[in-house]
């Protein structure tokens, strides 16, 4: 199963490496979102500093959704799903592999966005460990949910609008937890940042369990 | 808004929503039923029935 999972990861990352959509298109777009959010808040530096944690996750939500879409478009466009169904790769391996590949891509996006926030919104990190752990927890939860809902709308004609509608309510708790954890890590809130980070791990664990069990149903063709 | 206006608005909107939804469900059933040629044909005589379906 591990070998199969890694095979899927390698395939997805190779596709991404050749097309360079994540770094070439999605990351610049997400940076633009940061700029636009500053417009919305009238470039009020104290507001931006206070809201930086939340705004970061909103930008991740936006860019991440595009990456999830892309992750399944490359499968359905060329009928790769049929190839998967016929290959010996099991549904759980496919689920884990796609999640892991998405984790890497969203992680890269977050690196870019993190630098953007640091430079544009003038934030100071007070707890680097929490920041890192919360980012990892949020990204894992994000990727796992993304794969689960990405396959749900895969291959449908209206997927570009359907995926965000299905995805955002599910990601809402992650957005909430990520924002609060980041605010603690950035020193603008004294709340329990670690508890929020662990909540994201719990959400990730629950959705991983669902994904391992239910991915097969979602791949089946009638 | 006063309390009474609020209550009247709330109950009014609720009744409108439920009534509209019920009518939509029933009429949708009727329309599709007619398309399929399923209907409450017990009362209608066959000759009339033929006319009605050609109209649609």
């Amino acid at each position: 199963m591990l070998a199969e999972t890694l095979l899927v990861v390698r395939k997805d990352l190779r596709v991404e490496w050749r097309a360079k959509v994540a770094l070439g298109q999605v990351a610049p777009l997400a940076l633009l979102i940061l700029v636009v959010l500053a417009f919305a808040l009238d470039a009020n530096s104290s507001l931006l500093e206070l809201g930086a944690g939340g705004l970061y996750w909103v930008a991740v939500l936006y860019g991440g959704t595009l990456l999830i879409q892309r992750s399944f478009d490359v499968e359905t466009d060329d009928g790769n799903m049929d190839a998967f169904r016929m290959s010996a790769i099991g549904a759980p391996s496919l689920f884990l592999g796609k999640s892991l590949a998405l984790f890497v891509q969203i992680g890269l996006l977050e690196l870019v966005l993190g630098s953007g926030i640091a430079l544009l919104y003038n934030v100071r990190v007070t707890d680097w460990v929490l920041l890192f752990v919360a980012a990892v927890a949020g990204t894992v939860a994000f990727s796992v949910c993304g794969v689960l809902w990405g396959v749900m709308s895969a291959g449908l004609r209206v997927r570009a609008t359907l995926l965000p509608l299905l995805l955002v309510p599910v990601l809402a708790p992650i957005l909430l937890a990520g924002s609060r954890a980041f605010e603690t890590a950035l020193g603008v809130r004294a709340d329990a940042g670690w508890t929020w980070a662990s909540l994201m791990f719990v959400i990730a664990a629950i959705h991983t369990a669902i994904g391992l069990g239910a991915f097969g149903f979602l791949l089946e063709e009638g | 808004m006063s309390e009474v206006t609020t209550v009247v608005t709330g109950w009014g909107i609720t009744f409108i929503i439920v009534a509209t939804y019920s009518m939509w469900v029933v009429s949708r059933g009727k329309i599709i039923g007619q398309e399929l040629g399923i209907g409450e044909m017990e009362q209608a005589d066959p000759g009339k029935d033929a006319d009605a379906t050609t109209d649609l």
């Binding site: 309510p169 149903f217 | 909107i13 439920v18 949708r28 059933g29 399929l36």
Partner: protein, 254 residues
């Protein structure tokens, strides 16, 4: 159309549901009389308490409908390979329950906001219950959107069933995190929305309203179920007609 299809398939109304429909209208009328005129005004909230008889039964019905959607989805996933009808019965049940649930969640939100305006002075408060409810509303709107898409019926139903299950598992996650979010730093504002003491006539009116709303929702669900079946029948016939016309065309060209 042959007479056999006519006698096999039925319209959405049957004698039993006609009786239920009349009962629903009568029950609603009595509910309005009890809720609007006979039950007393509240000591704290005054006349505004009459929103209670719509708001609370609606959310109970909505939750009940979503539970029904989840249970039917599980049964569908189990039955789709074993039963002759591929579990379509459960799929229709899940779909009709979800739609009725969405309607009543919408009613809950509207009545809640109006009620909030008059008691809290604002339409919306970021309180755990309200926030969970609006996310629930959007989630099931998404579920209905997924069900409506043009795709192979079995593929679509399977995806919808899995989505219904995950959404249901997500309800406590959403509620817990939002609840936690609000209680961590806004304890004071929660006391603004004082809940009235529900006793005596108010209690019985609430109980009766729940019964009346249940009858209405049941009637709606049964009819919606039958309409879904008619929709499936229509799609099948359209497909069959398309195939036969293609076959004819092929014959002509040869």
């Amino acid at each position: 159309m042959t007479s056999t299809t006519r006698s096999n398939a039925k319209m959405t109304a049957t004698p039993a549901t006609r009786v239920l429909g009349v009962l629903a209208i009568a029950a609603t009328a009595l509910m309005a009389v009890l809720g609007l005129f006979i039950s007393p005004a509240d000591v704290i909230q005054g006349e505004a308490v009459r929103m209670l008889y719509l708001h609370v039964p609606s959310i109970w019905i909505a939750y009940g409908a979503f539970v029904l959607t989840s249970v039917s989805s599980i049964l569908f996933l189990r039955a789709r390979k074993r039963r002759e009808d591929q579990g379509r019965h459960y799929d229709r049940l899940a779909g009709s329950a979800a739609e009725v649930g969405v309607v009543f969640t919408g009613i809950t939100l509207i009545t809640g906001m109006l009620w909030g305006k008059v008691t809290w002075g604002t339409y919306w408060q970021w309180d755990a219950r309200l926030t969970t409810t609006i996310l629930l509303f959007v989630t099931y709107l998404g579920y209905l959107a997924l069900r409506r898409l043009p795709a192979d019926p079995m593929v679509r139903s399977q995806r919808a069933a899995v989505m219904a299950l995950i959404s249901f598992i997500n309800v406590p996650i959403v509620h817990y995190s939002v609840d936690w979010w609000r209680t961590l730093h806004q304890k004071a504002s929660l006391s603004v929305g004082r809940r009235p003491e529900i006793t005596g006539e108010m209690y019985w009116t609430l109980l009766y309203s729940t019964l009346a709303v249940t009858i209405v929702a049941t009637w709606l669900m049964i009819h919606r179920y039958r309409v879904i079946r008619l929709e499936e029948l229509r799609d099948e016939e359209a497909l069959a007609a398309l195939i036969s016309s293609r076959l004819k065309n092929d014959d002509g060209s040869n």
